[in-house]
């Protein structure tokens, strides 16, 4: 299958199995420092531009404030018994062997400081309970290792108390931002989204031009006038999708898929230029206020356009924010049609259509693909789907099986609620962290390689913009083509026979999984 033509030393490699526990390599990743944010981006987000003079005092006070404002933070700092259950659950630990990437050790970076200033034992007997002063070295260590957590929550599944390292990591980033220590990738993106409405900083004019180009592509492919409307007042549905869907591969093919499904469903829909972003990086930096500001843009767009429903495109953490937080952050949504879930996932929409028998598939068009599905962590462990427990696992698989003949699941302990992160989530999808991203992908890549060898699986489908970008960068390092990663709605689109679409006989599908039928 995959040919590993990477450097022997330190390069990416498959593990014996996805759960192989590495030897501990202290300090292996201690020098990996993600770029710091430009002062302007920090201030755009309401934080000090640079590290403030009394940072120590402010950071300690912030720990106390968060403990009072956030039950999870308080309870999780107190409850850990160091049982070790989580120590082999983080993909970054499995991939790097750095012990500070074990979830409990990552929590302890902050817990040790909390204990020093807020607990009896830590104040009086720091050596006994591993408490330590907040020094500059500790702050730098926070910065490096809290930007080596993708907030995927796999550890929280296995903790006997449900301790969620993502909560600690978000709080740590919030504390660091409060003293003026922001990360470039996250803060720059949030600043753009707050200013322009999407993470790319793509203005409405450019967005309109892009969507018009895509409409032309669709017409060329199908001979039908399939629209991707922008800012159309009175449409039934507002589509909120990650801006990567407008420009990146394989994301775009997913967007074309939504357009086809909406067209086939006969609903009116629109994208908004004001809220042209599903992703909400406010979550990654643990900032309720920033997350709320970005969410309110969606509400505003829905009100301004007078839509009845909101549907989200394929984006993992966006779906967590949408499903779990949106009602809190920007609700109540009394003005929308209460007969539909608010918000709804495109997968729920398409699944409904399939159940109603309104989508006509020719599965054989995907026969050149042997497929598996990657459960994105924020969808799997941070959200739901379909209105029942576990729907987020079934719906995508049912949709995929409706449009593909060859579907195989990976090792059950690497899917569903136990899924391994792609290695690029949580605000780490930046080139300066590429080393971590490649290593952190190794459990997933190993599980993928297993089904590739066992079942001849050729492609991986996902419903997360970050996963898609990460895999298209990382899979080549593991010997797979960059287009081995597909959008779920890309597969829907390529198998979907549109009403009124005339199909030429004997069109051999191409090997890259992109629908290329010629229409007469």
């Amino acid at each position: 299958m995959a040919k590993l033509d990477m450097d022997a030393e330190g390069g990416p490699k498959f593990m014996a199995d996805p759960f192989e526990i590495p030897d501990i390599k202290c300090g292996a990743m201690e020098d990996l420092e993600s770029y710091m944010a430009h002062p302007k981006h920090n201030t755009d987000l309401g934080f000090p531009g640079e590290l403030i003079d009394n940072w120590q005092e402010v950071a300690i006070a912030k720990i106390g404030e968060l403990a009072e404002k956030n039950r999870a933070f308080q309870v999780y700092l107190d409850s850990c018994v160091k049982c070790g259950a989580c120590t082999d659950k983080c993909h970054y630990f499995l991939g790097t062997g750095d012990p500070k990437n074990m979830p409990v050790a990552r929590q302890d970076l902050l817990r040790s400081v909390y204990r020093r200033y807020y607990t009896f034992a830590g104040k009086n007997f720091p050596w006994l309970v591993g408490a330590r002063d907040l020094t500059r070295e500790v702050l730098d260590e926070w910065y490096n290792y809290y930007h080596q957590c993708s907030q995927c929550r796999r550890c929280s599944v296995f903790c006997p108390y449900g301790i969620d390292t993502a909560e600690i990591s978000m709080a740590a980033r919030e504390i660091m931002n409060t003293v003026g220590l922001g990360q470039k990738y996250c803060n720059e993106i949030i600043a753009k989204a707050k200013d322009v409405g999407n993470n790319l900083g793509m203005n409405p004019k450019a967005l309109r031009a892009t969507l018009e180009d895509l409409e032309e592509d669709l017409e060329e492919e199908t001979g039908l006038s399939i629209r991707i409307p922008l800012d159309e007042k009175g449409a039934d549905i507002l589509l909120i999708t990650p801006s990567a869907d407008f420009f990146a591969e394989p994301h775009i093919d997913g967007l074309l898929g939504y357009a086809k499904v909406f067209h086939e469903a006969g609903v009116t829909w629109t994208v908004s230029s004001y809220a042209s972003e599903a992703a909400n990086f406010g979550m990654f930096i643990g900032s309720y206020e920033n997350m709320r500001t970005l969410s309110l843009r969606i509400r505003q767009a829905a009100e301004d356009l007078g839509v009845k429903r909101i549907v989200f495109g394929e984006c993992g953490h966006a779906w967590r924010v949408a499903y779990s937080f949106l009602n809190t952050l920007a609700g109540p949504f009394d003005f929308l049609d209460q007969n539909y879930p608010i918000p709804q996932h495109i997968m729920e929409f398409t699944h409904d259509m399939i159940l109603k028998g309104e989508l006509n598939f020719d599965k054989s068009r995907n026969d050149h693909i042997r497929l598996t599905y990657h459960d994105s962590c924020n969808v799997a462990r941070g959200a739901g789907m379909g209105g029942y427990e576990g729907g987020q696992f079934d719906l995508p698989r049912e949709v995929l099986k409706a449009c593909c003949n060859y579907y195989f699941d990976m090792d059950r302990d690497t899917t569903h609620e136990s899924t391994f992160c792609c290695g690029g989530g949580g605000g780490l999808l930046t080139d300066d962290l590429m080393d971590l991203r490649v290593k952190g992908a190794s459990p997933r890549m190993t599980a993928f390689n297993e089904v590739a060898e066992e079942h001849g699986v050729t492609h991986l489908a996902a419903i997360c913009a970050i996963c898609k970008t990460q895999f298209s960068k990382v899979m080549p390092k593991y010997g797979y083509e960059m287009d081995s990663i597909l959008s779920v709605h890309q597969l829907v689109a390529s198998a979907l026979i549109m009403t009124g679409q005339v199909i030429e006989e004997d069109t051999a599908p191409e090997g890259d999984g992109v629908a290329t039928e010629v229409i007469s």
């Binding site: 404002k69 259950a85 012990p99 609700g331 029942y388």
Partner: protein
């Protein structure tokens, strides 16, 4: 006997203080957990969609250690043996605090003896793991070892009195029944008993300021107690509500 049993007086005060600190300290902590709002819905999915479902999930966590079982069979086995053993042993000890022994406490008595074996096996297993597994050793602080040693000391001294050097348990019962009525009765002058009782009192004292808080903590863990109904029911906490004004 005649005269004042100084040891009994000391231990009486020790237990009054320990009980006060255990109840008051843990109560304060629980109050703190209860008062801190959970601003967002963060149940680890898939999560129950009804309150009944949450009760069931919590039951499985607390009674069966479900997540731990999924995670690591060895930790689960040793942890479970220890906690289960301790529970039965504690139930067995109820007889020291009631004048007439309740029927079901009577029933538990023989099981309590076997349970002490489970408890000590579990504790030793956890201790051995702590220094033999590299990852676990890395995350261990001195207090983590000491906590296990303290519990082993309590279980060990108790078993020693049961199996090797019996003490006058009627007198011990008289001491505790007395404490409950605010009178100080004599205590057998057995060093093992004093070690046993002293360690128990110490454990009670450190309960609210140590990792033993995982006991109440689990009930306040949002990833475990929250219901998956965020789309259907709006969840908002007071400090977040203020942002809307």
């Amino acid at each position: 006997m005649g005269g004042i049993d100084v040891t009994a007086v000391l231990y009486a005060f020790l237990f009054y203080i320990a009980t006060f600190l255990l109840v008051f300290g843990t109560g304060m902590k629980i109050r703190r957990y209860a008062k801190a709002p959970a601003p967002l819905k963060i149940p680890t999915m898939p999560a129950p969609r009804t309150l009944k479902g949450v009760y069931f999930r919590m039951f499985r966590e607390v009674v069966l250690f479900e997540s731990l079982f999924k995670s690591n069979k060895w930790i689960w086995l040793f942890g479970y043996l220890f906690h289960l053993g301790m529970l039965v042993v504690l139930l067995r000890h109820i007889r020291y605090f009631t004048f007439n022994i309740w029927w079901w406490v009577e029933l538990v008595q023989p099981f309590g003896i076997y349970a002490s074996y489970l408890m000590i096996i579990g504790l030793i297993g956890l201790l051995v793991r702590r220094f033999t597994v590299e990852r676990v050793r890395y995350i261990t602080s001195p207090s983590d070892y000491l906590m296990l040693l303290l519990l082993i000391g309590i279980a060990g001294s108790g078993m020693l009195m049961k199996f090797v050097l019996p003490t006058d348990i009627i007198m011990v019962k008289g001491f505790f029944l007395g404490l409950m009525r605010f009178q100080i009765n004599d205590l057998p002058s057995s060093p093992i008993l004093l070690v046993h009782l002293g360690s128990v009192a110490f454990l009670m004292i450190i309960f609210p300021i140590s990792k033993l808080l995982h006991g109440p903590g689990i009930f306040f863990s949002p990833t475990r107690y929250q219901i998956d109904n965020s789309r259907e029911k709006r969840h908002i906490v007071p400090w977040a509500k203020k942002l809307e004004e």
